[in-house]
Symmetry: C2
Subunit: 399 residues, 2 copies
């Protein structure tokens, strides 16, 4: 018998059973039909990408420093960029605590590798960022959702679930998926409780700069730096296509995260790091980010106005985020967002059902009523038409 006729024996690791296509991603495929107004994506508005600044920076980096920019480089990251990151944070951070990552998604992967054993308890908000659930899953944690309100985790439930947890993962600013933020008072109380419980916090802050009226309160990491690991991103203030983020780690944790980084991809692209550092040199962000804020604020306002106008009497509830990219809504009793989606797409509008963002609650009827609406990808005219179409679908479904 020809040995090639035998099937090969690829044995999958146990963790592979927890790696499954993102429900969101499958949903997004449906929503990508031409003509559909999408509130479903998590994409920043490409009109905010500083294409010209990148073109100038790219030309300059290659001209002045081409061979170095294209060579292998240190796993820690490009020194000038690490310094810019440290200097831009609102608490004292040594550049040696900064690790440049291949997007902040990689920060989540490294955190899980260094801190999570199979069966380790990890606490998350309810609901939480789906990409974090996916990044943690390969390390086979027991992920527990902490009961959360309009500000994030509730401290009584956190206390009840903290025993033995490796860390609490949260996004205090304009959270994905809900758009909610934690107040100063909640942050202060949470930081104190975490310190008392000796519960480490992994603080993810991709959206913090995208505030509309006032800057959010200081991060938890600023209050309790030795107890927090901070993740940041350039994806929302510059552009996601460079795949650049960073983490700030307590000095005791940094070496293991660095080893994990080195094993994962040696280093993030040095060319991209130099471009980002070049673009951000001087006061670029002080001029650029306010424009993103103003744009996203106008789009949020358009969506809120459209919701007020179109959803009157339909029983849809929604929040009013103070920044970021997302608004969170709840359908009337008896409706299920996942079931509603195909009808919405049929009517020319798409959203993301909320249930996949719940760590352990996708069977929860409350979760099944929720949905996420991005207000930053569609134009104001599209927002008006899309919300009207969604209202018609809900009206029909409840009628």
């Amino acid at each position: 018998m020809n040995p090639y006729d035998l099937p090969s024996t690829w044995v999958l690791a146990r963790r592979a059973s927890r790696m499954n296509p993102s429900a969101i991603r499958e949903i997004l495929k449906v929503t990508e039909r031409p003509g559909v107004i999408s509130f479903a994506g998590g994409l920043p508005s490409p009109s905010t990408f500083p294409v010209d600044a990148f073109a100038a920076a790219s030309a300059r980096v290659l001209q002045e420093d081409g061979p170095a920019a294209l060579q292998y480089a240190a796993s820690e990251g490009f020194p000038a960029l690490r310094q810019q990151v440290a200097a831009g944070l609102p608490w004292p951070v040594d550049p040696d605590q900064v690790l440049i990552t291949t997007g902040s998604q990689q920060g989540l992967d490294l955190v899980a590798k260094v801190l999570v054993d199979a069966g380790s308890r990890v606490l998350v908000e309810t609901p939480t960022y789906l990409g974090a659930l996916q990044a943690f899953a390969p390390m086979e944690p027991e992920i527990l959702g902490v009961r959360s309100d309009y500000e994030g985790v509730q401290l009584d439930d956190l206390r009840a679930k903290a025993e033995g947890a490796r860390f609490l993962y949260l996004l205090p600013n304009f959270q994905n998926p809900t758009g909610r933020s934690m107040s100063e008072a909640r942050r202060a109380a949470l930081a104190e409780l975490a310190a008392e419980l000796r519960l480490p916090i992994v603080e993810d802050n991709p959206y913090g700069e995208l505030w509309f009226d006032r800057a959010p309160p200081p991060p938890l990491s600023a209050r309790h730096p030795d107890g927090c690991l901070y993740l940041g991103s350039f994806s929302k203030v510059l552009a996601p296509g460079l795949r650049l983020g960073f983490l700030v780690a307590p000095p005791a944790l940094y070496p293991k995260l660095l080893q994990a980084k080195q094993a994962a991809d040696l280093h993030s692209p040095g060319f991209n790091q130099r471009m980002a550092a070049q673009v951000m040199a001087g006061d670029f962000l002080q001029r650029h980010v306010p424009r993103i804020r103003a744009l996203y604020r106008s789009q949020r306002d358009a969506m809120l106005a459209a919701l007020e106008r179109e959803m009157a009497g339909l029983g849809l509830q929604w929040n009013v985020p103070d920044g970021g990219m997302f608004l969170w809504a709840r359908l009337p009793h008896g409706l299920d967002a996942l079931e509603l989606l195909p009808r919405a797409v049929e009517a020319g509008v798409a959203f993301v059902p909320g249930a996949p963002f719940y760590a352990d609650g996708s069977e929860d009827p409350e979760a099944q009523r929720t949905l996420r609406l991005s207000f930053v990808t569609a134009s104001v005219a599209e927002i008006d038409r899309g919300i009207a179409a969604l209202a018609a679908v809900i009206r029909q479904a409840t009628g």
Copy 2:
């Protein structure tokens, strides 16, 4: 008591104990003293980086396709680049089998996540690429070195150790660290044995294009595509600083690798992928890669000539690689490469001791005699001086 006075409880995952600073990296720090001629690094020659082509490609990508290049993108990779990869391989590959990775190092991380459980047996060459040992380590395999000769793994020892192994990892072309390659006959016999044993092969081929006299025989993946997972890199034919590599997976494995990729960093930078695709469009590589081959060949020849000239009578043995970047040498009996290194650096020349490249043999006296010499970073004049200095150190140590 102020709760912040309590130390925080960061509990490390068990795997973190296997993440340790690379011995090589620590060694390289010593060798980075100014004035030291280094044969230690694994860096391609920056004179081969097509800086002007990248500058033109970058300008064009940003001008013609800026917002898309800077936006989030598909985890699979940029379609045109996947097509170029598939078309450039010497066996029939569907672009849907190609996953663009953040350097081929990330391919190793994804492979380990999807195929390795704690305690899983993984087979490697003796010695093997240190970065692979580091990428596999977090998944806590039992790594076994297969006895190897001047062509790579020996089939009798492979048969003896294959039981239950998740895969055999190898670099058939101009291997790192040894520079050795597998003959046509060994490849044919190995592919047949692997098929008979139903042993999957992870074939890593970063150096295959860097041949000097004739192209190496076809990859194992070409002979046995369903039983092989193939890893490739743009780091040696374009530049490492873009962090772009790829893997080619059997269709049955692809979805899990894609999930692992998505969880790890969402996708590799779309801007970089477009730049690479733009640079490689047309016949660029057909013109560019022969220049790299000619340069590296002249440097290899210079190192071989210097070794013949300077090492006469010293008992140093070395091989004659047909391509790639490295040459492998063995010190006379009684010498230890790690012990010799500080004296060499003192004398102005650096190399990498071979022992860290042995999966389970760093205590092996044979391993301790070995060292790796890169011939591509230093100029011909530096090669002459560096080899002379190394000969003086060996002469003194044996005298």
